[in-house]
């Protein structure tokens, strides 16, 4: 039984409540959450790779990646700290393109990033038109504080899964908890099931 707080009431807010997962509230700005200083890597030294449980690892330089046909993505994003931002607009490449034709027994991926951050995802959650490698936000290059030059975009999961400064995916047979997941956050992180912390 929740405790009823005397005098507390809903304050009128705009937006469509059916797009708000449980426990979330609408946010107009774009708060930033990260654990340490923002990494800055020259684009000439930047690459994105797919390694681990596959026969032939794949690797793209910044130029090779940007030569691919970008996709415009419009989506709602949900942060575990309880804000939701509707109708965000991104440019990037579907992970389906980068993973196309890969022969693997892996069921999970670890995304790894400049700065040492990692996060784990079921492979199923990054294929089938649900996940992107994004380098543009709101029509502009993705700012470093928001994960530029490129971050994952997996909007159907809590936003810590959309790893900033991402540099690669490691395909794995077993689920291996990443940075926040080792610190008690949920391995999958579905906002509609309110999977915030381990055990939720």
């Amino acid at each position: 039984m929740p405790s009823i707080s005397r005098g507390f009431r809903r304050r009128e807010r705009g937006g469509d409540p059916t797009r708000l997962p449980p426990g979330q509230h609408l946010e107009a700005g774009f708060p930033v959450l990260s654990a340490g200083p923002t990494p800055r890597v020259p684009l000439a030294e930047w690459s994105f790779s797919i390694t681990g449980a596959l026969d032939a690892p794949r690797r793209w330089s910044w130029e090779e990646l940007r030569a691919l046909e970008p996709e415009a993505v419009r989506c709602d994003i949900h942060c575990v700290t309880s804000w939701t931002k509707l109708d965000t607009e991104w440019d990037g490449i579907s992970l389906d393109v980068l993973l196309d034709g890969i022969d693997t027994d892996a069921a999970f991926v670890t995304a790894w990033c400049d700065g040492g951050y990692t996060t784990n995802l079921p492979l199923e959650d990054v294929i089938g038109g649900k996940a992107w490698l994004a380098w543009g936000y709101d029509g502009r290059p993705l700012a470093a504080e928001h994960g530029g030059p490129a971050r994952l975009l997996v909007p159907h999961l809590y936003f810590w899964k959309s790893a900033k400064w991402v540099r690669g995916l490691i395909l794995r047979a077993d689920d291996e908890p990443g940075f926040w997941e080792q610190l008690g956050y949920h391995d999958r992180g579905d906002p509609w099931r309110e999977q915030r912390y381990q055990g939720d």
């Binding site: 929740p2 930033v32 923002t38 700290t81 309880s82």
Partner: protein, 233 residues
């Protein structure tokens, strides 16, 4: 693993920190204890069943009665209730403690460098209070950036802290009156060679430039821990 339970809490005391901030002391049965720097999720429930939840840093050190300090945000329904309405005897629910990264324990050593922007002081004061009680031999440097003297939390506990006021200074003030920059950090902070454990908390832009300044000054990236709040009402 079972879910972290929602625990009913009763407000035991309300303390005014500034015009916009209150510290609530909470009675909670079954609180498992916390580490310095962690936070709780607060959930308010209206009579009609409507619920809203937000995260707040814990202000009190481990072992002391649980306290959170909340700053009122004009758009924030949860902070408005906690600051303007809550009084002793009121009830709501919390879940926690949460967060295992932005934490400090005496075993992690020092010296400590705590850099706060505005109400980013809350988790840092939790750490500083813990150090004063549990490990006073460990050196600590606290640098606080506030808009003006009326915005300073825990003013009675800031002896020895370095302060800078970015908008309004007290009469006769001869200290810093600008945003924190590399030169100020170099003057105030232990040198990088001392390998201070750096904790930086405040608004996004503040954390972004302080963390970068620390790295530029030669502080080790892995020793700089940050926590940022964007708007979260």
């Amino acid at each position: 693993m079972s879910p972290l339970p929602w625990l009913p809490v009763r407000v035991a005391a309300v303390r005014r920190e500034t015009v916009r901030a209150r510290t609530l002391t909470l009675d909670v049965d079954g609180w498992p204890g916390h580490r310095a720097g962690q936070h709780v999720d607060v959930r308010l429930t209206a009579a009609d069943g409507y619920q809203a939840q937000r995260s707040y840093s814990i202000a009190s050190p481990p072992g002391a009665p649980l306290e959170i300090t909340v700053e009122r945000l004009s758009e924030g329904e949860v902070s408005l209730w906690l600051v303007d309405e809550a009084r002793p005897g009121d009830v709501f629910d919390i879940r926690g403690p949460i967060g295992g990264y932005f934490v400090w324990e005496p075993s992690r050593g020092g010296p400590l460098l705590l850099v706060a922007g505005g109400s980013g002081l809350v988790p840092l004061m939790c750490i500083e209070r813990h150090r004063r009680r549990a490990a006073p031999a460990i050196d600590s440097t606290l640098l606080l950036s506030a808009r003006g003297p009326e915005d300073v939390l825990y003013a009675g506990e800031l002896d020895g802290a370095a302060l800078t006021y970015t908008r309004r200074t007290p009469d006769g003030w001869t200290g810093y009156d600008r945003r924190i920059d590399a030169a100020m950090l170099a003057e105030v902070a232990p040198p990088p060679d001392a390998r201070p454990r750096c904790f930086v908390c405040g608004p996004t832009a503040f954390v972004e430039h302080v963390a970068q300044d620390l790295v530029d000054l030669g502080h080790h990236r892995a020793l700089v821990k940050t926590e940022r709040f964007g708007a979260s009402g």
